[in-house]
Amino acid sequence: MDALLQPWPWYVSGPLIALTMAILVLLGKRFGMSSNLETLCSLGGAGKFVDYFKVDTRPRRWNLMVVIGAVIGGFIGAHLLSSNDKVAISGDSIEKLESLGFESAGEAYLPTALFGAESLADPKVWALLLIGGFLVGFGARYAGGCTSGHAISGLSDLQLPSLIAVIGFFAGGLIMVHLLFPLIF
C-alpha cells in the first residue's frame, strides 16, 4: 500500500500509459486527449458561428467520457492515493527555479507562484495561464494532436507527421524554458 501512495516511478507509469492506449485501441477508438477540445466547442454552440464546429458530436461523446474519467482519476490520485503532493525534482532544477523566484520548487505539485490562490490576485498570472492554455489548445489542434495523440499514439504507429510534431513540441518547450522564462519571471 505504501508503494501505491508514493509517486510512481517512470517504469511503472510509462507502461500503464501504453496500457491505456492499448485498451482504447482494443475498444475500437484511438488515444488522444486534445480532440475533446473541439467536441466541447461544438457542444458549446461554436457551430453557430464557425462551420468547422458544425458537426454531429454523438460519435465523439466517448472522448468526453474519458475526460470526465480523467477528472475523477485526478481526484482519486491526489486525495485517496497520495500521502503528500511534493514532487521531488532534481536539485539542479530546484536551484534554477529558485533563482527565477519559484520558492515552491521541490515542495509542491504545482508552483504556488502560478497556481496558488494568492497568486491569482496578480493579473500577470492570469495572463500567463490564459496564454499558456491558448497556445496548448491552438497548437494541439493546428498540429492535429498533443502529447498523447502524437508523442505516444502517432509515434507508436511510426508516423512521420507525428515525429515532426514531437520535434516541434520540444523546440517550443526549449524556447519557452530557456529563452522566454528569464524574460517572463
Binding site: 517512470w10 507509469s13 510509462g14 500503464l16 500509459i17 501504453a18 491505456t20 492499448a22 485501441v25 475498444l27 475500437g28 486527449m33 486534445s34 475533446n36 461523446r61 466517448w62 467520457m65 474519458v66 474519467g69 480523467a70 477528472v71 475523477i72 482519476g73 481526484f75 490520485g77 514532487v87 525534482i89 539542479d92 505539485y109 508552483p111 497556481f115 496558488g116 495561464l129 490564459l130 496564454i131 499558456g132 492554455g133 497556445l135 496548448v136 489548445g137 491552438f138 497548437g139 494541439a140 489542434r141 498540429a143 498533443c146 502529447t147 498523447s148 507508436s156 508516423q159 507527421p161 515532426i164 510534431a165 516541434g168 513540441f169 523546440a171 517550443g172 518547450g173 526549449l174 519557452m176
Partner: protein, 137 residues
Amino acid sequence: MKSLLYLLVGIFFGIVLYKSEAASWFRIYEMFQFDAFHMYGIIGSALVLGVVFTQWVKKSGAKSFFGEKITIVPKEKGVARYAIGGVLFGLGWALAGACPGPMYVLFGAGYWAIIVVIFGALLGALVYGLLKSKLPH
C-alpha cells in the same frame, strides 16, 4: 454501458497521470532542462511498448473487444501544420506546465487555477477552427 468503459479508462488514465507526476508543472520544466530522466523514461517506455502493440495490431489484423476490425488511421501528410502547430503547442506546454490530459487531471485534483488554462485551451481550439482555412497546412 460502453460509456461506462470509457469513463473507467479515463479514471485509470487520470490516476496514472497524477501518480506519475506527468501532470506536475515542475516535471515538465525539469524535462526541458534535461535535469532528470523521469519524463523521458515515462514517454520512452510508453513508446517502446506502444510500438510493439501497434505493430502487432497492424500485422495480426486484431479485432476489437466488440469484434470489429481495428483500423489505425494514418496522420494526414504535411509538414507546416505539424512544425508550426507543434512549436506553438510546445511553448504553451512549457508555460502552463500541462498538456490536454493533465489539465483535466489537475482540475480533479482541486487546483482551481487550472480552469484558466482549460478556458484558454478551449479558446485556442475555437480560434483554430475560425482561422483554419487561412493557415498553412
